[in-house]
Symmetry: C4
Subunit: 198 residues, 4 copies
Amino acid sequence: MVPLQVAAALAEAGRSMDARGWVPGSAGNLSARLNETTIAITRSGVHKGKLNAETDIIAVDYHGNALAKGQKPSAETLLHCQIYRLFPHAGAVLHGHSVAATVLSRLGPIKFSDYELLKAFGFSTHELEVNLPIYENDQDISRLANLIEPGLANEPPIGYVIAGHGVYAWGTSVEHALWRLEATEFLLACELERRQIK
Amino acid sequence: MVPLQVAAALAEAGRSMDARGWVPGSAGNLSARLNETTIAITRSGVHKGKLNAETDIIAVDYHGNALAKGQKPSAETLLHCQIYRLFPHAGAVLHGHSVAATVLSRLGPIKFSDYELLKAFGFSTHELEVNLPIYENDQDISRLANLIEPGLANEPPIGYVIAGHGVYAWGTSVEHALWRLEATEFLLACELERRQIK
Amino acid sequence: MVPLQVAAALAEAGRSMDARGWVPGSAGNLSARLNETTIAITRSGVHKGKLNAETDIIAVDYHGNALAKGQKPSAETLLHCQIYRLFPHAGAVLHGHSVAATVLSRLGPIKFSDYELLKAFGFSTHELEVNLPIYENDQDISRLANLIEPGLANEPPIGYVIAGHGVYAWGTSVEHALWRLEATEFLLACELERRQIK
Amino acid sequence: MVPLQVAAALAEAGRSMDARGWVPGSAGNLSARLNETTIAITRSGVHKGKLNAETDIIAVDYHGNALAKGQKPSAETLLHCQIYRLFPHAGAVLHGHSVAATVLSRLGPIKFSDYELLKAFGFSTHELEVNLPIYENDQDISRLANLIEPGLANEPPIGYVIAGHGVYAWGTSVEHALWRLEATEFLLACELERRQIK
């Protein structure tokens, strides 16, 4: 049901994320938009660095329900659906847990100023300050999606972080989403190191 | 004596641990429960990141004695046996030495609060504080096992650390134990970074 | 137009840089001098850790113009051209973004004193202090090149950093440029760690 | 002249060291004792993470002179020879540059107390304090060897560091030397992290 090429791209992105330490245990989830009714997403309870493209990526509708009976998508599928619904150009969504994102998201606002890498998000200059929104973690994903919705809809951010949890990044393709995730994590790593200088 | 599939899973887990820097020198040991009388465990004096599945994983009984003459199991085999004895669902035990575990275990209690990744241990929420027990290191493994026993028996922890030494993690399978070890080490890395912010 | 051997060496250097985390997203650019009129350089908008030697390395003249119609070289091509123009022995130029370079370049002068690794730059002793010049970032690459020119021409440095952006390193060959980049990044990592000691 | 098996073991150790970031540029050197008159050592000016076993490992005598005309051994060959001369059981010597060793060796004495990993050096307990000797760097290798000699001869250490430069480790075989180097670097990494806690 999920084209193997899409599943393979997600599995490859998962291996890249694992090599950076962003998917510890069975954490993280990865998805791609297939068409106007269907999304491909990692299933629940598998290691995202060792995805089997043939069995670990499943199809869900835009309400997060698995199309095939008995399949269980990632717990946070609704957050992926929300991004595809709000952003027509979003073709893939990647969510990982990094140490930098986890630590910094619990310490107050995260703002990136004057970094060249901000250009990875389509800005034409580095001379700006960009906010990475932080939302309080909530196991009720529906409620969490409602909390996030106004920010996404009104002022599309470069991505967002759930506090003590991890980053959500997206792009036009799996590759592009991974570029933006790498850029976000790079900036978070810079902020963490900067705050550790005595 | 040890099924090759089990030995291969342990060797693969060792390579993952080595890639993260958790088995420096010949440190660490890995095991899996085979049946009611036998455990498979890494032998003493080999590098756990370069395990030969055919020769480096040996069978021991629940008292830690090698079944084949002349084979020498890891020095800390008794701690593995203890976990299998106390936890019927434990199918594999992984012990590694990470920099974060080594450093933090010498600085007082380790508590993880409000991390999403706590869900890796079966909790249904991130809104809790979880203690990672620390035990003083002891070269007398029998005495060390006795020290650890009450804590394990009374209030099963998510794992434990021996001070200045490393983490013991377990799970229903080798893969599951590795997930839990990854989650534990991720949380320890978060705590270490957090404490280094000025 | 670009000899495959040169393109393959640049692609391999890109993979090494990616393994170290120096080319997040589509950041960084890599080039090699082909002859007195032509330079090989990575094209714009590709991941430098996953370069396809046959399609991602293109030929430009010394003014930074692509020789083949419709090809778009890296945005910072002029900075590469400048190095080849000023330094006859420069055979390759590598530019990456590391966390250490990004963080330190925003905090004032960077000086390396008494490091053995300074010998990687041709010094015969470690007993000296070497300055790594920092230039303010500018999206107008022509203007940035003019800002950099006097320093390069008057007192050739071991390389340089653009603030909040990354390192430019060069050498007689792709391999030699990578050695010098590795040495520069190692020294930056040492400085970052040193400044984090309480 | 150098048995391919020995050269391959050294090349493999070099790749392990490079994966950890311990041989930036052309830094580091690796050797193995061949017999009572000959030592195999990496030649000068090659990357130690990409050693060609057939061409990059050469034979030298115990005075550090290449046996084949025109071959140039690593600049610090005499320090390897010294270790083989003083320690009959030393079968291999590894020297790398790590960030932790470079930074800490410039900040005063390095002592490791109560680490389990001290057992990697043959101690039967972790309850001890072990000194890692630091020697001032010197480009005159002969003079540096003379400075080091008394310490090595009188009280054989677990290895030593040259300030701002890197670690010398040895063992009965290439594999054993790498274990000891990994243990030394692990302890240095622990010390560095510990000193960065606020």
